[in-house]
C-alpha cells in the first residue's frame, strides 16, 4: 500500500467515522427489487473510457467493473483486481485479476483487456494526467497485468476506480469500421462490460434500464434485479417524484428543496457521498485583460464578495467555503491561505491603489460577468448577486446571459470574457482535476476547462510538476500547500464554495451509495429492506 493511501486515511478520519457509522446500521438487504434513480442528465452513451462526466459515469459504473473500488474511507478495495502490489521504486504496479470473471457476453476477462482499457482511456479520455505516466502494460499471463510508469504517479490507484478506468472487452471495442473511432464506437451505446448490471435499454431522454448480471464475479451479488434511471429534468418534479415514492434515490439535490425533502416521512436526506468529486464554485478572472491583469483588482473584488452571504443566504447554509484550488475534503487541502473575508474599505483602497478612481457616479470601471449555464443556484444566482454587490465598490457589472453551454464555452475558452462564474471538479487527486487550471502549458485557446484564466507563474508550474510525482506524502502535501498559498496570493480565481452532493433516498433502501464516488460506484450491495 502506498503512503498516499495511508495518509489519505489519516486525514479523512471524519469521513471514515461517518462511513463506519453508516456501515454499522447496514443490514443485509433482501434479494430482488427494482431500484429507481432520478437524474437530470441525458447521457450521450455509456462508455466512461472515452467520456467523462456523471451522466455517463453513473450507469457506466454499473455496467463496467474497474480494477479497484474505494470505500467510504478513501480506502482502495479489490474489485476486478483480486490483489495489487507496488514495486519498491513506485514505478510499477502488478495487478492480479480475479479468476473466472467474465464479460456480459461470456468472454473471460484477461490482462489483455486491462491493457486495452488503459490504452483506450489514455488515448481518448480528456484527463490526460490520469494515465499520462503509464509507459506500458505488460501481460505476463492471462490474470496478471504489470503497469509500468515513466515517473512516480501517486494518483494511479484513484484513477483505477469509479468511472475513470472501466475494463472494456478488447474483442468488442477493438473492432473499428471505416470512420469509427473509440469515441463513436457503436457499442458505446449498447455497452458490454463486466459490472453488476447489464445494459438492457436506453430510451433517449427518458430512461435507462439495467438488469442484474447473474454471472457477476462477486458471489451473491448484486441484490437488485433491475436498476432504472429515470430522466427528469425539472428539479421540482424530481422532488415530488421522490415524495410520491416513484423513485428511490437522487443526488445533486438543490439547496432550495432540502428542507421540503427532509419533511417527507419516507425519505432520508444526506450530504455524505461524492467527496472525491470536489466541485468548486469559483469566480475566474481573465488575467490577460485590463484591469484584471492587476492582482490588486482581483483581490479587491475578492474582498468585496461576501462569501458568507453566498453560503448562508444563497445556498441556505448547505455549502462549505472553498478557500483555495483544492477542496477541503481532499487530503491536500490547506486552510492556511489568505481567505479575503468581506472588507469593502480594503477593496476600495486596493482599487484606488490600482489607479481606478470613481467617476461622478461612483463608477470606477465597467465589467462583464459570465456564468456556466447549468445549476443556476451555484452559477447564475451568484453572478446576479455580484452585480449589485460589486456596484458597492464602484464596478458596474453586466451579467452576460449564456442561453446554452456552447455560447458560454465559446466565450470563456476563446478568452473573450472579463470574469466568469464556473464550477470545476477536483476529481479525487489534484493531478487529475487541479493542475489543469493553473499550469502555463495548459493555456489552450478554444478548449474549455483548460487554463482559461491564462494565468502563468513559472514558480507554480514547477511546484505542481514536483507535487504530481512526489511519492512521499508529507513532501507532497507541503508542495501542494505552497502551491495553494501562491495562487491564493496571485488570485487568478476567487474560490467561493463547495456545494456537497446532497442526496435523498428512500428509507426502504439498504446500503445507499454514500461513498466518495456516491452513485458513480457499483451498486452491487444496494438493496431494499425486507
Amino acid at each position: 500500500m502506498t503512503s498516499f493511501i495511508k495518509f489519505a486515511r489519516a486525514t479523512t478520519a471524519a469521513a471514515l467515522a461517518l462511513g463506519m457509522a453508516w456501515q454499522a446500521q447496514a443490514a443485509e438487504p433482501k434479494k430482488g427489487g427494482t431500484l429507481t434513480l432520478l437524474t437530470s442528465q441525458v447521457p450521450r452513451h455509456f462508455n466512461p473510457a472515452v467520456q467523462s462526466g456523471t451522466a455517463t459515469g453513473r450507469p457506466g459504473t454499473q455496467i463496467f467493473a474497474t480494477l479497484l473500488r474505494f470505500d467510504e474511507g478513501w480506502e482502495p478495495q479489490p474489485y476486478l483486481a483480486e490483489s495489487w502490489s507496488w514495486s519498491d521504486d513506485n514505478l510499477s504496479m502488478t495487478v492480479k485479476l480475479r479468476a473466472g470473471a467474465r464479460f456480459h457476453d461470456g468472454h473471460p476477462i484477461t490482462s489483455k483487456d486491462v491493457r486495452f482499457s488503459i490504452e483506450t482511456v489514455k488515448a481518448n479520455h480528456p484527463f490526460k494526467t490520469m494515465f499520462g505516466a503509464v509507459a506500458s502494460v505488460e501481460t505476463p499471463d492471462d490474470l496478471t497485468a504489470v503497469i509500468k510508469l515513466s515517473q512516480t504517479h501517486p494518483a494511479l490507484e484513484l484513477a483505477m476506480s469509479s468511472a475513470l478506468l472501466p475494463i472494456i472487452p478488447e474483442h468488442v471495442y477493438s473492432k473499428l469500421e471505416e470512420g469509427q473511432t473509440a469515441k463513436n464506437h457503436p457499442m458505446n451505446a449498447t455497452p458490454v462490460g463486466s459490472g453488476p448490471f447489464k445494459f438492457v435499454e436506453y430510451k433517449q431522454g427518458e430512461y435507462i434500464v439495467l438488469e442484474r448480471n447473474d454471472d457477476y464475479f462477486l458471489p451473491g451479488l448484486p441484490y437488485l434485479d433491475r436498476i432504472v434511471y429515470k430522466i427528469v429534468r425539472d428539479s421540482s418534479q424530481r422532488v415530488i417524484t421522490m415524495e410520491q415514492g416513484e423513485a428511490d434515490f437522487y443526488t445533486e439535490v438543490e439547496s432550495i428543496n432540502i428542507r421540503r425533502l427532509q419533511k417527507a416521512e419516507n425519505l432520508v436526506v444526506s450530504d455524505h457521498g461524492g467527496e472525491a468529486i470536489g466541485p468548486i464554485t469559483w469566480l475566474a478572472f481573465n488575467t490577460k485583460r485590463a484591469p484584471f491583469d492587476n492582482p490588486k483588482v482581483r483581490q479587491a473584488i475578492a474582498y468585496a464578495v461576501d462569501r458568507n452571504f453566498i453560503i448562508k443566504a444563497l445556498q441556505r447554509g448547505v455549502s462549505k467555503a472553498a478557500t483555495g484550488p483544492i477542496a477541503p475534503s481532499s487530503p491536500y487541502y490547506t486552510p492556511d491561505v489568505e481567505t479575503y473575508d468581506l472588507d469593502l474599505d480594503k477593496a476600495k483602497a486596493l482599487l484606488d491603489e490600482a489607479g481606478l478612481k470613481p467617476d461622478g457616479d461612483g463608477i470606477r470601471f465597467a465589467a462583464s460577468i459570465d456564468y456556466l449555464p447549468a445549476l443556476p443556484e451555484q452559477q447564475k444566482n451568484i453572478a446576479e448577486y455580484l452585480k449589485p454587490q460589486l456596484k458597492k465598490i464602484g464596478i458596474d457589472v453586466t451579467v452576460r446571459n449564456a442561453p446554452d453551454f456552447p455560447t458560454w464555452a465559446k466565450r470563456v475558452s476563446g478568452h473573450d470574457f472579463d470574469m466568469t462564474m464556473d464550477l470545476v471538479f477536483n476529481w479525487g487527486d489534484p493531478v487529475i482535476g487541479v493542475h489543469r487550471t493553473y499550469i502555463c502549458d495548459n493555456i489552450v485557446k478554444g478548449v474549455i476547462w483548460s487554463n482559461t484564466q491564462q494565468y502563468c507563474n513559472p514558480k507554480v508550474d514547477e511546484t505542481l510538476t514536483m507535487a504530481g510525482k512526489e511519492p512521499d506524502l508529507a513532501k507532497r502535501k507541503a508542495l501542494y500547500a505552497e502551491f495553494q498559498k501562491t495562487v491564493a496570493q496571485d488570485l487568478p480565481i476567487y474560490w467561493l464554495d463547495i456545494v456537497p452532493y446532497t442526496n435523498v433516498h428512500s428509507k426502504k433502501l439498504v446500503n445507499p451509495p454514500l461513498g466518495i464516488w456516491a452513485d458513480m460506484h457499483p451498486l452491487d450491495k444496494v438493496g431494499f429492506a425486507e
Binding site: 450521450r44 432504472v228 453551454f405 455560447t407 465559446k410 466565450r411 478548449v447
Partner: protein, 327 residues
Amino acid sequence: MHIASVLIRRILNAAGLLAAVLILCFTLIHLAPGDPAEVIAGEMGGATEEMMAEIRALYGLDRPFHVQLLSYLGNVAQGDLGYSFYFNQPVTDLIVERLGATLLLVISALLLAIFLGTFLGVVAARNPNGLISHFVTVLALFGYAAPVFWTAIILLILFASVIPIFPASGGMYDITGPDDPISRALDIAHHMVLPVITLSTIYLAFYSRLARASMLDVLGSDYIRTARAKGLAEVVVVYKHALRNAVLPVVTFAGLQFAQLMSGAVLVEAVYSWPGLGTLAFESLLRRDTPTLLGILFFSSMVVIIANLLTDIAYRLIDPRIRSGAR
C-alpha cells in the same frame, strides 16, 4: 384541374418548402456561437486541442460551410438525415420515436379541444345568454391569457403532489410497471391526462369561441329554417344540419394552428418530461446538435404540411362545394 396535377403541385411545393427550411435553419445554426465539438468536450470535462480537432474532423465540421450544407442536403435527398453528434445515433431513429410521443400528445390535445370546444360552443350558441355561454366566454379569456407552462406547473403540483392522482415523474409511461400491452396502454393514458389537458386548454378556449360564433352564424341561416320547417327535432337540426356547417372554420383553424400547437408542445413537454420532439429540440439546440435540430425542424415542418393536407381533405369531406371544385 386534374387531381394528379394538383397532387404533384402540392408535393413539389412541399419539397421546396422543406428544402428552404433546411437551408435557412442550417445556415442559422451554423452562425450561432459555439459548435458541437465544444459541447462534447465540455461534457467530457475538458479536452485538448487535438481532441477537439479530432471531433471536428470526425463529424466533418472542419470542412467549408457550403460543402457541409451541400453534403447535408444531398444526404437528406437520399433519405439520410445524418447522425447525431451528441446522441450518437442516427437522427431518424432518434426522431421517429419522439415524433410518435409528440403526435400522440398534440393530436389528443387537438381532438379534445376540437370536440369539447365545438360542443361547448354549440351549447353556448343555442342559448347565447345562458350560463354555458358565459362559461365559454370566461373559459376562452382565461385559456388564452394564462401562459401554458404556468397552467402546466400548477396542474402538476396540484394533481401530482397536493392530490396525487397522476404520476409525478411525468414521462409517457412507467418503465417499472407491468409491460403487457393493456397495462402499458392504460399507463400511457394515465400519464397523458395532465399534458393533454394543459395543451388543449388554449385551443379549447379558442375553438369553443370560434364554434360559438360560427354556430350563431349558421343557426341564423335559411337552411336551418328549412330544416325546422320539415318538422325535425331541434337536436337533429342543431347536430346534423347546423354542426356540419359550423365546424368548417374550426377545421380550417385546426390545420392552420398545427404549427402553433407543436410550439405549445415544447413548453408542455418541458414541464411534464414528456419524451417528445419539443424536449429533444431544446436539448439538441443547447448542444448545437445540428443534424438532430435540423431533423426535428424537417419533421415538424413535414408534420405541419401533412396536417394542412389532412385539413384540406377533411374540409373536402365536410364541404361538398370544395370537393367538386366549385366556389
